[in-house]
């Protein structure tokens, strides 16, 4: 017999669980304080109601139903209304402070079980959430009894054919599964929620620790909590695998660059443009968008560094009219300051914007600005999450990345994202006898031949113009320039073939 799974409807969770939580079983959701256990428990029911038409019973051992209704209203869930519609039912097992309680002798949890069974029957529930085990156990003193009783409740849940989530506290983020050692009795399936402080930043992750007898994705996945939606898990590897790849070429917006790339970018590829400040990255993003709109493609720009006014002014300076493009409905410019939210939240919003606008092209200027507000690991996950999403939608992407030094060098950003992108274009300052020039190189072009020269380029009111390669200088990429004497150059020209000028 194979174990069926119940799709939870929690965004991203069904990816990493390979289809949902084991049906007719209890899944233990364990986490430290503040790790969103109660939100998880509530959302398990809420998504059942909203998406699957499955009713739910919420057994609360900790907060009162009134507190839960109030707290979850902040996420946009109207529990009261679901209760009125007979789709959500509370079993209030929270501590009754107004009564004096004395414990003496043996007892069982028969009343609790009877109430749960009764509630399930009343509304025909298919889901149960219990929050939290720790709150129950601290009130009952006989752990041997409780252990046996939990086992009985677990068996009863299997018999009732309902799928249950039970939350439990843990002391350390990376310690024992749960605090009371009784949880293993009920938990064939364990999900761990973490809320880790890393480089002064909070990072939420979810991990499927075990699913007895069925598969799931391994490791920690970042998640965030979005108003109106609740928990959104960001399944990194899960969506990467589905990428298709296209051989269709699109213009970079610059015909000379198209030639260097062997005929343009690929339609669903991601291009990274790296360079120091002022080398022409924003220009390249602008041309990329302009090139799209001239072919009637929809283009989206996420700007993390410059204001809208400034971007529009820049574009006009290069002969691109963003305002006109917006009026035609072909362009949307979204300016975001990285500091306004965590990376996971940015990612969710960007995904929403992309799905709403449905662009053919997305430019991000600059991606490295996001590095400021994140840990290296979080940043990498952000880039992977964003890239896989863009690829999944078969959108062409262009990211810019600012290098910290003016000459040569790479940034940490690039080290972490260069393997993820399909193509890399370097923009570099080149100093020749006290004069600054700009150089461009196509470093990588996945699945295509490309020009291997480092070419000189200029910028004027019509944009970027790519010219001949630098010939009497080496060490441009590293920033350690070496001048090669003309006679040496002559000798080398005899050894190798001539310069290949770009023919248009």
């Amino acid at each position: 017999m194979t174990i069926n799974k119940l799709p939870t409807g929690i965004s991203g969770l069904d990816h990493i669980t390979n289809g949902g939580l084991p049906r007719s079983r209890i899944t233990l959701v364990s986490g430290s304080s503040g790790s969103a256990k109660t939100v998880f428990a509530c959302q398990f029911l809420a998504e059942g109601i909203r998406q699957a038409g499955e009713n739910g019973v919420f057994v609360t051992f900790e907060e009162s139903p009134e507190d839960i209704r109030l707290n979850m209203a902040g996420l946009g869930w109207d529990i009261r209304q679901w209760e009125d519609e007979g789709r959500w039912l509370f079993v209030d097992a929270s501590h009754q402070t107004d009564d004096e309680t004395v414990m003496m002798g043996d007892y069982d949890l028969g009343a609790l079980l009877a109430r749960v069974q009764n509630a399930v029957q009343i509304i025909g529930a298919q889901r149960i959430a219990m929050d939290s085990l720790g709150a129950l156990l601290t009130r009952l003193d006989n752990s041997a009894t409780v252990r046996g009783e939990l086992f009985r409740i677990a068996s009863a849940i299997k018999e009732m054919d309902v799928t249950a989530v039970m939350t439990s506290e843990r002391a350390d983020e990376y310690g024992e599964i749960a605090r009371y050692n009784v949880e293993e009795f009920v938990a064939d399936n364990v999900v761990i929620l973490r809320n880790v402080l890393e480089d002064e930043k909070r990072r939420r992750t979810i991990e499927i620790l075990k699913f007895r007898g069925t598969s799931h994705a391994k490791g920690e996945y970042p998640f965030t909590i979005v108003p109106g939606q609740g928990i959104v898990v960001i399944p990194l590897s899960a969506i990467e695998l589905k990428q298709k790849s296209s051989n269709t070429r699109i213009t970079s917006g610059n015909s000379e660059l198209d030639l260097m790339c062997g005929g343009g970018f690929f339609r669903d590829s991601i291009v990274l443009v790296s360079g120091a400040t002022g080398t022409g990255k924003t220009l390249m993003a602008t041309s990329f968008l302009a090139g799209g709109t001239t072919n009637n493609e929809r283009c989206l720009l996420f700007a993390f560094e410059e204001s809208r006014d400034q971007l529009f002014r820049n574009a006009i300076g290069w002969g691109v009219d963003f305002e006109q493009m917006e009026r035609e409905g072909l362009l949307r410019v979204v300016c975001v300051y990285p500091e306004t939210a965590g990376l996971e939240d940015h990612l969710i919003r960007m995904r929403e914007t992309i799905d709403e606008f449905r662009p053919n092209r997305v430019a991000i200027d600059s991606l490295s600005a996001m590095e400021r507000v994140s840990t290296i690991r979080g940043f990498r996950e952000f880039v992977i999450g964003l890239t896989s999403f863009i690829k999944l939608r078969e959108i062409a992407g262009l990211y810019t990345s600012t290098t910290p030094s003016l000459l040569g060098g790479t940034s940490i950003t690039e080290g972490h994202i260069s393997t993820i992108t399909d193509s890399i274009i370097l923009l570099r300052y080149v100093e020749i006898f006290g004069e600054m020039h700009r150089g461009l190189a196509v470093l990588k072009m996945r699945g295509s031949m490309h020009d291997k020269n480092i070419r000189k380029f200029t910028i004027d009111e019509r944009g970027m113009h790519i010219g001949n390669p630098f010939r009497n200088i080496s060490g441009i990429l590293s920033g350690n320039f070496m001048y090669v004497a003309p006679n040496e150059l002559d000798r080398m020209q005899d050894l190798f073939q001539d310069d290949t000028p770009l023919s248009l």
């Binding site: 079993v91 209030d92 097992a93 929270s94 009754q96 107004d98 009564d99 004096e100 309680t101 004395v102 414990m103 003496m104 002798g105 043996d106 007892y107 069982d108 949890l109 028969g110 009343a111 609790l112 079980l113 009877a114 109430r115 069974q117 009764n118 509630a119 129950l136 009952l140």
Partner: protein, 97 residues
């Protein structure tokens, strides 16, 4: 003298249940004679009452009157403790152990 209203929640008719009922009945007859009312509620038959009183464990004895409301959870085997919890222990009237 106060009148007593007591509710005893049980789950089915098990040995533990029968013992608790027997003990309680005896204590009441000995100490409260004509001035008590005892309701025995089986949660399997009337789960909605358990819901109303927010009972988790069985057996649970609730002293509704006299106030304050008091809950005694367990099989009531220690009669001295039960009497004390019900406030019927003359030596330590109303004391909670």
């Amino acid at each position: 003298m106060d009148n007593y209203i007591l509710k005893l929640y049980i789950t089915g008719r098990t040995l533990r249940t029968e013992r608790a009922i027997f003990t309680l009945q005896r204590l009441c007859d000995e100490n409260l004679k004509e001035r008590y009312e005892l309701l025995i509620i089986d949660v399997l038959e009337k789960p909605h009452l358990a819901e109303m009183d927010k009972v988790l464990a069985t057996p649970t004895l609730i002293r509704e009157l006299p106030l304050p409301r008091r809950r005694i959870i367990g099989d009531l085997s220690d009669t001295q403790k039960v009497l004390s919890a019900l406030g019927l222990d003359t030596d330590s009237a109303g004391e909670i152990v």
